[in-house]
Amino acid sequence: MTELDVAKPVSVSRNIATLDVAKLRADFPILSRTVREDKPLVYLDSGATSQRPRQVMDAERAFLEQHNAAVHRGAHQLAEEATDAFESARARIAAFIGAEPGEVVFTKNATEGINLVAYAMSNASVGYGPDTPEGRFALGPGDEIVITEMEHHSNLVPWQELCRRTGATLRWFKVSEDGRLDLDSDPITERTKLVAFVHQSNVLGTVNPVPELVRRARAVGALVLLDACQSVPHAPINVCALGVDFAVFSGHKMLGPSGVGVLYGREELLAAMPPFLTGGSMIEVVRMEGTTYAPPPQRFEAGVPMTSQAVGLAAAVDYLTGIGMDVVAAHERELTAAALAGVSGLDGVRLIGPADLDSRGATVSFVVDGVHAHDVGQVLDDQGVAVRVGHHCAWPLHRRFGVAATVRATFAVYNTLEEVDALVNGVVAAQKFFGVA
């Protein structure tokens, strides 16, 4: 194939004055490696998983080299130190999202956090657990759960399954042609018990109007769960200010380790909620005849939890706080502007998601006429540009747009405008390779 000589220049300001990206990138060893022989890595798949700075890896290593022990059990010094590190991590992560430490439950990832709530509701529906008399979490035939057409499978399948188990009905907001939530398709009624939706779409980049959705849910007494996986890593998030009941996010998408995620739940709700997984750690008193539960958050953390991962996630939170989440958001906004201009400026490329910068994050998905997303991705990969191709675990959303697969570039704080250029050049190269441009 031919070399790239036809890429359109991306016409945005080259000044991101508030952030020294080159200096920051030095913290991420993986970003300086090459791929596919000698191509510098251009990592535009942070929406799937982000890369980790040395500070995060160092924190994990330091914990393991000096303090490792099972937390919340044992009275020896290491057990004390490990427990302190673990609970300190919880407190820092809680502060990062404007929550109290007791409102932060460590989970394996966001998916587990959503399942935790779904299974707690499932348990409450069969009369299990310390549910409030009015049965806030209990569901049955006639009750409804409301989601949106733009959900990741992780915020869709657990609710489908919960409805199957309880006889409740799943309803959803539709998505408009420009990739926004269609607020006129509102299915929220007096029957709605829970409204669960994504904060920022992992495909469209759309940031949903949380206050408005919370207002509508509150008007009918429904609970609200926010999938904050793609928002917490990229902008200042305060769960109290947002007014949601639950929020979930994953460590590995926010410069932290995999194997650790967070379920935020309002204190009074967690206190009334039945457990999901049961066993060690989550108990108060155990007799052969029966068991009482520990208060939250321990009630929802059965078994020895992930520890170095929690410590690593707290280090990631410290790292992001050190940059400043407003600075992160401003930087990514500039990248988004460049990517939107570059990609939508190409003939034969259709953006899937909002074309304007209003209420949207640094996720840019598109299709190329005449070239399947897999093939676009392969050409990009050949040039060292790592993007995601496929349905990105949002199959119904792709169906809604009449496409089987899209190419998705997701940006993080360590990405540069030059990398946006590499993306745009790569798309042009794919068009040339497949003879459509």
Binding site: M1, A373, H374, D375, A404, A405
Partner: protein
């Protein structure tokens, strides 16, 4: 460039001008296969017919009379379905399944399996795909649909072939 090893001209030719594309009747079985990681899909039909004698002249054999398909997917999956029709139509079911095995062995071989052009024909062009594990499923999508459709007619790979169905027989 490695890209050219994967997207050989033969593959791009099949992609641009797929052989046997479109769904046709009559057929004996239909299979719908989907790749859950990317959403690519194929609906593939096979029509089998009974040959008077098999290759050894000792008895009946089932022959692949026609393959037709409707595929939604990347160049690799589309081209693989096209090559499939070239390689199996007119062959005995037994032989076509042997070809399938050889194709599968090659693309799953991480580039270590030397393909036999006598068996695989244009299929050897997919040897480069074997170096990209994420694309192996693309190359196999149509082939898996073919296998499934054949099994729906014959009752199983290890079973004696069922009586050749008449016309537009068993569908899924």
């Amino acid at each position: 460039m490695r890209l050219d090893q994967m997207y050989q001209e033969i593959i791009l030719d099949h992609y641009r001008n797929p052989h046997g594309a479109g769904l046709r009747e009559p057929f004996d079985a239909e299979s719908f296969q989907i790749n859950p990681t990317c959403g690519d899909e194929i609906t593939l039909r096979v029509a089998l017919k009974r040959n008077g004698t098999d290759a050894t002249g000792t008895g009946d054999s089932l022959v692949v009379a026609e393959v037709s398909y409707d595929a939604l997917g990347c160049s690799i999956s589309q081209a693989a379905a096209s090559v499939l029709t070239d390689l199996v139509v007119g062959r005995s079911v037994e032989e076509s399944l042997r070809t399938l095995d050889a194709f599968q062995e090659m693309v799953q071989g991480r580039g270590t399996v030397e393909p036999d052009e006598d068996v695989l024909g244009d299929g050897v062009a997919f040897a480069g795909v074997a170096r990209y594990p994420a694309r192996v499923k693309c190359a196999l999508l149509g082939w898996m649909a073919f296998k499934d459709a054949v099994v729906r007619v014959t009752g199983g790979p290890g079973d004696a072939p069922a009586a050749a169905p008449e016309g537009n027989g068993a569908k899924r």
